[in-house]
Symmetry: D2
Subunit: 263 residues, 4 copies
């Protein structure tokens, strides 16, 4: 059978990324307690393609993924990347895995336990040209929280507008940093954290906590950035806060980056 | 050229709806001040197909829409529906038009003007079998508002959680009811309405208004339902409130229907 | 602490549905081989609320869900519904669980195995007033397939436009019908089924299969409806096909219902 | 009234972007025939905030937008950016405007006219530090097309899988390049362009055109890149093709960048 992908190409345009996008796949992610968490990921897999080849054999991406079936963790990402550059004889490999991640949280007063969900991702690349450090790994965590507006509180006779907000962290780390640690940093710097289950005594507690900790989107990203800056394991970071303003139909947004480098 | 769609079908299964879905199309909607508002719609068009025909000529839907190009209003929907049953020789015709709609609002204290956006829809059907009233028309309006939690306010020492919420109305009317009127009903029964532009004095005003009008999702849908119930132009209604809870990562929801009848 | 929800309401408007929406939750679904499949669900839980009560205690929904943590199947849905009406002293209970479901498929020629994902849902209600049959259960399965256009094939010198399509089934069953069975019915009546992994010999096979089985959206829904009609376990069904037309930027759509009854 | 935003901040963390996100706004875009096209945009507006200020007065973004109400074009973007840095006394300003754009196309044989929709964006920044060239402007155009798989055609006895694909261009230009020109480049290098309205003779034509022009995602991005490379008005470009594979439930993807520079 004809191998069309293997034919030569004469346009002299190398492809930066060729691969598959938006593949839904069940994965098992390792969590801090060293247990396995079953979740469902959306996966993108790309390699580069030299200018003289016409196409990529895209079925190979799924074969590689199948071989690691069920296991995606910060520890084995590099094996998948290495398998990709080996199989495709490529210089670069890119692996993006987006997944909801669940953590059991206890409500602040009643201690009632429930699962909170966080949108996370591993964004990993391999570059054969960078001999010493071929792997680039970004961990992405999006943490839903409450923010309460300092301006609204300061000028109003009672109450203050508050809302659900997403604090999104992207970090490059030198050594292992748990998703749980990044989530804790974000929740610690919000007006309050969110819970799936709050009894009345808990609702009182989180309402009062938020009212006593008014924070702009700008405050939140600065405070989280300060924590990341002090953490020696973190090499680069980006922190965003997007607030679903309860008084507007658009969102407030703030963003800090540690230093200029491609996301 | 062969007309495959016109071939007979012997499976004896009539098609309830055949047509096109998710067509993006610029439209001009009439607003209350009798001016034209330019917006962009997502359009679905369907007809029924008798059991003995194989297929529908789908290009005809776009031809009909093109003939009314630029004009979609509560007044001309029936012409489009009639054109559909005539052209397709069908018994039924369905037209669904979803569009963002903009209203200029003045901020409560400063009077500063800005545009608020509302997701609206006309859901219209024609049924040849219903000789007296062949047309069924539902107007859908989704109104973003603030709701402030009565429980949170009652039990907490300061503040109360509040959030962006969507009040969604579906109504069947006997005579013309303006989108603007439905939006006003929803905003009047929320803790506060939303604005794109609020100066500080306005922010103080809406914060205090919401704090003085705590409402559950259940309260909101009841209050809007009461208004619709008293309005003689309205024959059937459904009212929903979905609150993007600022203390949870899920939403609170309440729904009331005037009486059982298919949406 | 004040129980605001328990206060009386005098507006005489009963709430049809009050509850929580869009809760993300990890679940374990039973599959045909009687094994457990771990996936992530989006869950809605509602009850009705009599006209004389102000509000619903929404934390109870999550408590009930937590008690059945990790287990959602056609067999235990009724227990969750019964727990809801008991805990809320309500007449109705509604449970909607949306989740991606994975099935291992073998490629048609090479036999290479891969996981295909399907968007599924259980839409279950309990109504105390219906003493004999209080439970209403709808299973929803959305099956991505290939459809190839019969008209395009008949009139063109070579090739025919084809595309990814979604066949969506909603069925009410008298006895247990596996998700796998519904998926097989849909795939059997498409131009071809989809696979995550196809080697070249498989790609040849599915291309030729689709070319030899041209089908309109109307054909597909009729053929699936015929299968459901003959199946004595099925009481009511709705079949839709939505085709992401490769020659248009809108979709072709067809729908059949067994007989008029609320979805 | 207290001006909380104006208070000093001592954390020494400058904010890279602070502003508003996801504001829906009706806009009038200039098209090539120098006529005005009414559409609806989603707008993001940000400025930087020096480390010593606590917050941004977010209402000012909407005031600036209101002042240019109804007019967004490649010619006046710079005025909005300059107004932003002036009003906020900031160093940077960012303006992102996403909108559907419509072009009337004639079907290839019948000449029947219909409107095709394209998702476009202007991504513009102003940087006071770059005295000579303070403005950076990227035009983004996403063009839905047909792609037909060369491998599938080469190995199969009849037909070839084909699908709707999105070719997305991001370009930095030295002088004005019309959205229409970028769309034409993309459509010229696909297996076929899409139309909202095709009569049977047109369907035959586009089916045959696509069958005679089989192209991988890799081919498409290379061919478009070659066109952009030769165009002296273009300084930097990125070209992507994402194919909604009709034989898979995931997408094929290819991407080319002219040279490394931040998107």
């Amino acid at each position: 059978m004809k191998d069309v992908q293997n034919q030569p190409d004469r346009r002299r345009i190398p492809i930066w990324k060729a691969g598959i996008k938006n593949l839904q796949y069940p994965v098992a992610v390792m969590d801090r307690e060293n247990k396995v968490q079953h979740t469902v990921a959306t996966v993108n897999l790309y390699v580069d393609l030299p200018h003289n080849f016409k196409g990529t054999h895209m079925s190979r991406f799924v074969e590689i993924l199948n071989r690691h079936r069920g296991r995606i963790s910060l520890r084995n990402l590099k094996h998948i990347l290495r398998a990709m550059v080996a199989r495709f004889e490529s210089t670069m490999a890119h692996l993006e895995v987006y997944f909801p991640y669940f953590i059991e949280k206890a409500a602040p007063v009643s201690g009632a336990k429930s699962l909170m969900n966080y949108q996370c991702a591993f964004l990993a690349s391999f570059d054969r040209n960078k001999r010493k450090r071929p792997i680039d790994l970004i961990v992405r965590v999006s943490v839903p929280v409450t923010t309460l507006c300092p301006c609204s509180k300061a000028i109003s006779e009672g109450g203050a507008h508050n809302q659900r907000s997403w604090i999104t962290l992207h970090v490059r780390t030198h050594t292992l940093v748990w998703i749980e640690e990044l989530i804790e940093m974000a929740e610690a710097e919000a007006s309050a954290g969110l819970y799936s289950l709050l009894k009345r005594e808990d609702e009182k507690s989180v309402t009062e906590q938020a009212f006593n900790r008014p924070l702009f989107a700008e405050d939140v990203v600065r405070a989280v950035a300060l924590r990341l800056k002090k953490d020696r394991r973190i090499g680069w970071y980006q922190v965003e806060s997007e607030n679903l303003e309860s008084i507007h139909n658009h969102n407030a947004y703030a963003m800090v980056v540690s230093h200029e480098r491609r996301l």
